[in-house]
Subunit: 270 residues, 2 copies
DNA sequence: TTGCTCCTCACGTCACGTGAGGTGGC
DNA sequence: TTGCTCCTCACGTCACGTGAGGTGGC
């Protein structure tokens, strides 16, 4: 039996960490002495070794809880490990992209790109449009998860560039987004209840064209909002992004050539 | 002038983030309306763009504060960016090592290695030893930062395997460590006051030999402590690790062949 | 008795997210 | 008046670290 200080030495876990693991119930000492001292044994040591391993692999406490509960034979552990491996691999990929981004900004070229773009603003009427759509809460990056489902329902009846509707009036990490694919003819969505088929009404809106990556698209929004302000126009939601030219489902294309139309509806007197 | 909701849309920062940045004084709106509404202008927008960039590169708020304060021309920014790039590169390296570690544990070979090692325990007397040393607080991984300094002072007078003393009686992230290089003859440390030259007294101690990487060295400590417990021996600090065979300063060597002696002093009746 | 090792609160961290409760202008 | 947008607290997060104040056995 080891007192907490001794156990700390042989496990390389701080006393504070051990007390925390006790509280979190992932490593409770096998017994308590009369003076409330935590007393650890060899079985606790084995468990601690596993926990140290998992923490070094950046498992959270609650993940470790899961592992320990469902941990029967080695196979289960291997499954968790390979999952975590994939996760870390993803992180590395992201960080490599970060480095790329830094490199981009080390050459001041890109900074200029968006700034120097001058947006031509138009006021247009958009006719009513039939479309199949899915509305979800999440990031605009999740579009890929849903768009395939819509095209499956639409089949050959797609009619024009797909667009998104953004229902929030501030920026949110978890945004309220509707992905839409314009359609012609009758659409059968009975197989996929999550896909809505409906008509979006006519709107009057301010619009502009953004050419290039989506990363700088906020500048286009600013241009539209600035215009509205100078004209005393009141904007409303949902704003619309029409993807005249964007990443296809198969080919990625060159982001610098993406063409996106930003559409912000004008509030009309009731 | 933009109200916070509008500004949120054009900067892709949440309203909550904007209020937080205001509180933290990294992005305070250029004015407040009478009703206390935050009002942002174009200059604030530029600043926000920079902040978004830096946050995406994982700069902390206080780092951003630094950047903004010392940010005069582009050159300063470039310096910060290349620093951060190096930092991320380091992180990627670490994560790649994590993946390697996972791979190692996916083959169950390594798990066995340390467990199956059986440690021969000895009780030995260690004679007084003259040594040059540096005592510091930090991780054992920081040894490399100090050992060179010691050898510079010692010059040709090194005499035997270097060792570390560990003064804590529990495991700590920031440990109290003394790095020692045994010496012969007179050592002149007048040029480097941080290097102490002294004699370490005779000790009676339990010792064992650990062969292999330092990652599993805690198992050797356990073996020694277990022995002490069965014999009713009371251990004390500082424990000693003698690096009979370890990474040289130039060649890294094969960690599987490292030979380390673990020495835990016995408390002798006063 | 003093020192030592342990104990249990309670509070801090970092960058916001999540409410609660309230105000001012259309 | 109702709805809308904004405001200011206050509390939660995650895995511990940092004290404060106290106990029990040598």
């Amino acid at each position: 039996m080891y007192k907490i200080g001794e156990f700390s030495k042989i496990t390389n876990l701080t006393v504070k960490a051990l007390r925390y693991y006790d509280e979190q119930k992932i490593l409770q000492p096998s017994c308590r002495a009369e003076n409330e001292y935590r007393m650890y044994d060899n079985k606790d040591f084995e468990k601690a070794q596993l926990i140290v391993l998992l923490r070094s692999l950046e498992f959270s406490i609650s993940e470790i809880k899961d592992v320990l509960e469902s941990y029967e034979d080695m196979e289960d552990l291997q499954y968790f490990l390979s999952e975590k491996k994939a996760f870390i691999a993803k992180k590395i990929k992201k960080e490599k992209e970060l480095i790329k981004a830094i490199d981009n900004h080390l050459l001041p070229e890109k900074n200029m790109e968006a700034k120097s773009m001058d947006y031509k603003i138009e006021i247009k009427e958009f006719e009513p449009v039939n479309a199949a759509s899915i509305r979800y809460k999440g990031s605009y990056k999740d579009v890929g998860e849903y768009i395939g489902t819509i095209y499956k329902v639409v089949k050959g009846n797609a009619d024009g560039a797909p667009f998104n509707l953004y229902y929030d009036d501030e920026f949110k990490e978890v945004a309220d987004i509707e992905i839409c694919v314009p359609t012609k003819g009758k659409i059968d969505n009975s197989a996929n209840a999550e896909v809505a088929v409906k008509q979006f009404p006519r709107i009057k809106a301010i619009s502009t064209i953004h050419i290039g990556t989506y990363e700088t698209i906020n500048v286009a929004y600013k241009a539209v909002m600035d215009y509205a302000k100078t004209q005393g126009i009141k904007c409303t939601v949902p704003s619309r992004e029409i993807y005249h030219k964007g990443p296809g489902m198969v080919f990625r294309g060159n982001p610098k050539k993406y063409v996106t139309e930003i559409v912000i509806p004008i509030e009309e007197g009731v």
